[in-house]
Subunit: 411 residues, 2 copies
């Protein structure tokens, strides 16, 4: 796309990020995390944040070359280190009502050639250190949002057969379209989209299903839903009272499975790109909510390390419904990035549940969430189980079945 | 200079920064702060740090466009904000023996067109928030070092009459030469240089002067030295036992003035570039250690705001001797950056003193330092009073005068 068009859509993406995504409040501080190569978007977001009356905007920029230097030259002990002081500080900032914007666009394959044990150790150390801050996000204490930037490294992975410039242009086009900033009024487009998602989640909440049953090729899975689960999608209101869109884009409605009530087997319908490693053809079997067997044709080692992270990493924290006709699914692009790929298909997530996916969830304690069947873990990893061949039934509290999806679409 | 030469000297600068500057210990974590445009050096420093056995390297990259966005679009209240959580975290990291590397190269004129009151408010908020962490640096709790990178914005200010590429090449040449990385063995060059600086500080310590008397055009200044003051220069040993070079380059030997015993008047011999504002032709008068009158032909407003920062900002925290023949002085370049300009001339610093410039200073409490005449402040701002026309006498405890400098050179 022409540079001027790219710049104009990036302007709109920044405005959408602040006004729709995080919906920054006057006087509120903001932390922005981003790959350093996303600087053109970071700068626009800082400007939009200040225009919206931000207190202070603090940017934390990370660089993939610096991250790789540890794997290339690092002392073995360094892989158990994490910046506790920084994450503790971020947690304090959130506790003080600082909003959070994450810009993603990492190279999905960055660590694919590194020793999986080192990758897993580094991830575990990082997750442990970040957990107190992450709980403020998963507990929806503050308004937060994730958006993306078309980095060169990411574009190369998504469009390996294109010249670099073309690959970046294609990824930018896909990002801008999915984020609804390819129109003159993204704010209005998001208002309409939020209304549509709200209709679906309202219908699901009225039905108050005890479980969902997924069936399709390689899949026969019953996902019991948590007691007091709540279907959410699109904009939602954080504990600090701010209504924000946590993901831009988003096409899903989602809720909380019961950590002990998942039975059967399921096959992933797309590869999972996790922390730089591609995991393909995942198939798992659940008993009493727990994954008791797991295979993958590629990345099985990483998958098993992921499942062994902690007590909660073999249980589900989220189930989400996305029609096969969703624009991201129809683009046919595998993004190797959860923010996009989870919006292309129905999915489930291993690990931590979201407080906002319970009725009155943001006022529940962690013990109350656990008592209702909400899962707890250091991880939250989505993987795709939806396709044009998937049927979903809702199972009511009285056992009656209601069609929810047929052949990948709302029934 | 050719790109390959630039890359080779940058490699050596990174190696020198880790091995001579911060002298990172095996297993020690490192925080690197830098302008985002210094990324080529940041990446090399991360690699060198890991080669030296670093624990974890954490980089904090700041961007000038983001900083300017606050001035262009920011709510007035935002100028009293600072990232307390981040600075508190840095202080904790230092308390946990994390080493610190600062890469400087900011545009010295970045904020020169902004409202000085807003600049001063933002600086004050930042200094207040950073103070606990800064005390760990000024108290020499850990090994730390400052080096520089030839950014385009800085080069443009230093060489305004050159094309951009030439300006950057000239600044790079000056930085690499002053940092002694334009030789094949920078480590050996630094060993020799440290020995030379040590000879000078040893002679001054043996003399144990009560005061120094500076005389020259517009200057007749007696700087009483703190009780138990210690002359330092070049490498020094932090409280954590690591011997490092805090400044690369460095040409000075320095000690601690007595906060109550400075008398007379002094004229700056170079402009002072402070937080984006140029202050020219500073002239001040001291009574009982305190600046009671201050003028400047440009930036007087900023100077007065600086002096009004806190109780200690009108008193001296450092006096340093640099011969007029120092390589940086002889380059004839005004760098608009303290790391360089302070090494071109004798100078004094307003504000906070350094514990390492007391005998056994790193084991003194803050109260003990204050009792010996050490000054305390949120600021530490060096300004140049040396030239080829300055004479300095040392005044012994018995009142006898000893020539120290004549016409800007060691007597």
């Amino acid at each position: 796309m022409p540079h001027s068009q790219f710049a104009a859509e990036l302007d709109r993406l920044a405005e959408t990020a602040i006004k729709v995504g995080v919906r920054l409040q006057e006087g509120q501080d903001l932390i922005v995390t981003a790959p350093v190569v996303a600087l053109p978007l970071v700068r626009r977001i800082a400007a939009e944040a200040y225009k919206a009356g931000a207190g202070l905007v603090t940017t934390l920029l990370n660089d993939e070359e610096v991250a790789l230097a540890r794997y290339r030259f690092g002392n073995d002990l360094s892989f158990d280190r994490a910046p506790f002081w920084l994450y503790e500080g971020m947690g304090k900032a959130y506790a003080g009502n600082t909003a959070r914007m994450a810009i993603v666009g990492e190279n999905p394959m960055l660590l694919s050639d590194e020793d999986p044990e080192r990758v897993a150790r580094a991830n575990r150390a990082n997750s442990t250190a970040y957990r107190p801050a992450l709980e403020k996000i998963s507990g929806f204490e503050i308004n937060w949002s994730i958006i993306s930037y078309p980095t060169t490294a990411w574009a190369r992975v998504v469009f390996p057969d294109d010249q670099e410039e073309m690959a970046v242009a294609k990824l930018a086009h896909a990002i801008f379209a999915a984020s609804r900033v390819d129109t003159n009024d993204p704010i209005a487009a998001w208002t309409a989209h939020n209304r549509k998602l709200n209709e679906k989640s309202t219908w699901l909440n009225q039905n108050n299903f005890a479980a969902l049953h997924f069936s399709g090729p390689g899949t026969d899975l019953t996902v019991g839903l948590a007691d007091g689960h709540h279907w959410a999608g699109g904009e939602a209101t954080a504990k600090n009272g701010v209504t924000c869109n946590c993901n831009i884009p988003t096409e899903e409605v989602f809720t909380t499975p019961h950590a002990q009530r998942v039975e059967g087997h399921v096959r992933a319908t797309k590869p999972l790109s996790h922390q730089g490693t591609l995991i393909e053809n995942i198939a798992v079997r659940f008993e009493a909510g727990r994954i008791v067997a797991a295979t993958a044709s590629r990345g099985a080692d990483m998958l098993n390390r992921l499942l062994d992270t902690d007590e909660g990493s073999r249980r589900l924290g989220e189930v989400a419904l996305v029609p096969h006709s969703s624009p991201i699914s129809q683009s046919g692009i595998l993004f190797y990035n959860t923010l996009y790929d989870e919006n292309a298909a129905c999915h489930i997530a291993l690990g931590q549940c979201y407080a906002k996916a319970f009725r009155n969830g943001t006022s529940l304690t962690q013990d109350e969430i656990a008592a209702r069947g909400g899962n707890a873990s250091m991880i939250h990893v989505d993987w795709m189980i939806g396709s044009a061949e998937i049927d979903i039934d809702g199972i009511r509290q009285d056992g009656r079945r209601v069609p929810v999806f047929r052949k990948g679409e709302w029934a």
